[in-house]
Amino acid sequence: MGTAPASRDVTSYGMGLAAPLALFFLVFFVAPLLQLLWLSLHNDTAGLHWGVGQYLHFLTDPFSLSVLGSTLLLGAEVTAVCLVLGFPIAWLYQRVGPRLQTVIILIVLLPLLTSVVVRTFAWIVILGRQGIINATLQSLGIIDTPLKLLYTQFGVVIALAQVQMPLMTLPLITALGRIDPNLDDASCSLGAGSWRTFFRIVLPLSLPGVIAGCTLTYAAAITAFITQSLIGGGQMLFMPMYLYQQASTLQNWPFASAISIIFLLAVLAVVSVFTTLGRMSRGYGGA
């Protein structure tokens, strides 16, 4: 940062303005992260002996690996559901009048406007043994005994998908809105039907939005502690809860730290796969 007023150029202002946020991140993000790393590199709970034993323990323990695996899988399932359900909504948004657009945006944003705890309990009411779905199906005579919806993978995926939907839909709406509507017409006038237009033109050009939406949804879904634990119940264990148990209940801070670091790296790996995929497709940054 230039101190002499004469040599001050525009870029030095930018750095100066970013300083408060940089400081904030340094104190509240980078420092704790380093502390976490430091803690994870101890072999005993008291934190006296250095070593990579916690990492070895995690990576050789089938139970820990299965928790990691099911968490990453859960993220993939939620992301897929959000993409399949969110794309038509975003597509519809670009094709209706301004009044309906307001309605759609409101519906999309609604999950963000209610507390996550309230939303999750609502899903318990819907999915429970005596819940709305089971009660309806039973009164219609479609089933005799209540279906097990709560405390299942299916239940968790559905509840998470609803909660994370805005993170998928909003980037998609933005990306689709950036596509010149004349491209649709051009494709059509060249003899292409709506499906060809969708797969050859709309989908490739909306890839930046798809990538952004998937990244956000994925990251949010695998770290959603409250929804995962309340809907998943005791039998289903995912990384955030596993971490919490190790840290809070068992007071095994070094192992909990190692879990965090491994989880972080796994998430970063998945996210970078998304980004690389996006950059490889030629639609990225186009239009």
């Binding site: 017409d185 051009a186 006038s189 039907g193 490739p204």
Partner: protein
């Protein structure tokens, strides 16, 4: 309604379109276009040109009327089954596809295999003089080059009608002239019935076999460039196409072919009744183009005082203030020693011939 080998005839039959918002964009338009003709749709901004083009292409379903291509009424056909090629004002090339893929897109939709597609794309790119650009992306091309690609892409599907929406608006003057010649050449070669939307009257007059002049969604006149320029049917056409002096006056006597008009500027002249018959004593507006006025020595014309003189290359335009205080422009060819006109000189002006002064009933 003869169809040439390349192009089919196009009939716009009493087409009216009202947008859901209530705006009446086009009203009772009738056009009868022969196969292979180039037609210009000329009119000021907002007069409904794009709307009419989109109706013909099938993107908008008109409120009333029919579109007939060749012998088929196409109103029920979606755009992808009308075989109408369209070049959009902003080109609308697919940004993620290479130039070759862009041109071959329509063929792919028709199930043509990749090798033939590339061959045909290459042939068309040669036709528009861009053979070396096949592998580039649209954003790596200049505006004029993108324009040519858009044209090649539209021609690839061998359309029976080609629609161009303000195709040259974004190009600079020299490139525009090149492209106008290019399109005309391609059109002659392929014989495709072509409709060019423009608000540039020079473009319309120079490129088209016939010009349709629109104003506020209505068809003002549909005729050859010389019809539209020399024998305008409405006051709007006379003033919108080319420049024109508007001089108010009163009809002294009139029959079907000639009217004697007493101009407010002070003289009696003979004019052509352009918008139907005129009634004696009625107020009219007489339109005379600057190049159709001459200086006269005797007492025949109307008097005025020379204001500014603008030498515009091959012609000189003089501004003359008439007795009633209105301004009149007269342009003279600069042949050798043109008579030098002093600022403030008293002159008399008259039309070159009665048929070159058009009298329209005053609208007020």
């Amino acid at each position: 309604m003869a169809d040439t080998p390349g192009g089919r005839s196009l009939v716009v039959d009493a087409v009216t379109h009202r947008y859901p918002s209530g705006a009446l964009a086009v009203e009772n338009i009738n056009l009868d276009i022969k196969g292979g003709e180039i037609i210009a749709l000329l009119g000021p901004s907002g007069c409904g040109k794009t709307t009419l083009l989109r109706i013909i292409a099938g993107f908008i379903a008109q409120t009333q009327g029919r579109i007939i291509i060749g012998d088929d009424i196409v109103d029920a056909l979606p755009p992808n089954r009308r075989a109408v090629g369209i070049v959009f004002q902003n080109y609308a090339l697919f940004p993620h596809l290479s130039i070759s893929e862009n041109v071959g897109y329509g063929l792919a939709a028709r199930g043509v295999d990749k090798a033939s597609r590339q061959r045909e794309a290459q042939r068309l790119l040669e036709l528009v003089q861009l053979p070396a650009m096949a592998e580039r992306l649209p954003r790596q091309l200049s505006g004029g080059q993108q324009q040519r690609v858009a044209l090649a892409r539209a021609l690839a599907i061998k359309p029976s009608i080609l629609l161009l929406d303000e195709p040259f608006a974004a190009l600079d003057k020299n490139l525009r002239l090149d492209m106008q010649i290019e399109v005309k050449r391609l059109q002659r070669v392929s014989g495709i019935t072509t409709l060019i939307v423009t608000h540039d009257q020079e473009e319309a007059l120079s490129m088209a076999d016939r010009v349709a002049v629109l104003s506020h969604g209505k068809l003002e006149q549909f005729g050859t460039p010389s019809d539209v320029y020399d024998r305008p049917q409405t006051l709007f056409v006379n003033t919108f196409v080319g420049s024109s002096n508007r001089m108010p006056g009163v009809v002294v006597s009139a029959d079907r072919t000639a009217a004697k008009v007493r101009l407010d500027a002070g003289a009696e002249i003979i004019a052509r009744p352009a918008g139907g018959t005129l009634s004696e004593g009625g107020r009219v507006t007489v339109c005379i183009r600057p190049e159709h006025l001459q200086f006269v020595g005797d007492e025949t014309g109307f008097a005025g005082v020379v204001g500014m003189s603008l030498p515009l290359g091959a012609t000189v335009v003089h501004e003359v203030t008439t007795a009633d205080g209105s301004g009149v422009k007269i342009s003279q060819a600069r042949i050798g020693e043109t008579r030098a006109l002093e600022n403030g000189a008293a002159v008399r002006l008259a039309p070159l011939a009665p048929s070159l002064a058009n009298a329209f009933p005053a609208t007020l």
